[in-house]
Symmetry: C2
Amino acid sequence: MFTVYGMADSGNCYKVKLALEQLGKPYRWVEVDSTKGGTRTKEFLAMNPNGKVPTLQLEDGGFLPESNAILYYLAEGTPLLPADKLGRARALQWMFFEQYSHEPYIAVARFILRYLPGGHARRAELPRLQERGHQALAVMERHLAGTPYFAGGGYSVADIALYAYTHSAAVGGFDLARYPAVSAWLGRVRSQPKHVPLG
Amino acid sequence: MFTVYGMADSGNCYKVKLALEQLGKPYRWVEVDSTKGGTRTKEFLAMNPNGKVPTLQLEDGGFLPESNAILYYLAEGTPLLPADKLGRARALQWMFFEQYSHEPYIAVARFILRYLPGGHARRAELPRLQERGHQALAVMERHLAGTPYFAGGGYSVADIALYAYTHSAAVGGFDLARYPAVSAWLGRVRSQPKHVPLG
């Protein structure tokens, strides 16, 4: 059985939970609070030297970090990953987009507004995070205007990866009403069998 | 034949060049200077709405962006990607590490010092970029102390992805002499058949 070391309110950890639930794979969840140093202990760093959740403990005892690498590992050979080579590359294209052009803005804005006190110096980052986050949402909007899902024609781990922080973007100050195709896609993701909410 | 839209001095674009050379796949290279707006033209955004190089034009005419998704696509089914599922996930683990925990610090420090004038306001970012970049190098050092390559026991696209900006980290002010295992690994990568330099 898999063990997920994760923080329930983290979008990156939610990706793993959602995939495991939808794949019907049993798992144990160990809550690790990264906001209180839980990923910086000697014990945690022995599992993942990069000090981040989620980290998946595999059935052989090894540890696999990086939310989107975990998604790919869990989904390979299942309907959650496209069956053709180009479809898999498209899923990865959007998963790398998510980690480089989306999460560092949309998730970080949410973190600042949700976890840091009102007068915190990091609020100065918000205008740039808003600008870049809206750029990412505009790229998604343009793509979703022509196709129901991100890769391979059907629901996949690319959708799970992008859903995690997009559906909670309002917490970071993003008004999703400006993105009708993104909003409709969020509804399609929510309506998938065995969907579970963040938290 | 593939066409690479890329900038010769960009590490992300170099990854694609190195993989194509080592796989012996013919390609055409179209130079796009992202520092002079080449990725923001209407024509370029029609190929990649996210406005980034590299973007690979496939043999069917479609476009695939995201350097590490391109690497995976090119390497699937070749010796540059591990043949087993966990090995592929390990390659992706390090490729996501590269894009989230390495490139945003080590490549950006190089960009500021190489492309921006001496008194530019973005120099203020350098202390944080140095701190985070050294964290990434320390994670690599720890991993490479016990294994010659990043994933699956042999040279793979995970090594190509991490080599691109690590081997040129000195330009960003990083002293690699502090990382003997990383330095030895750089030598192993350079000694691979059909290796070509950045540029």
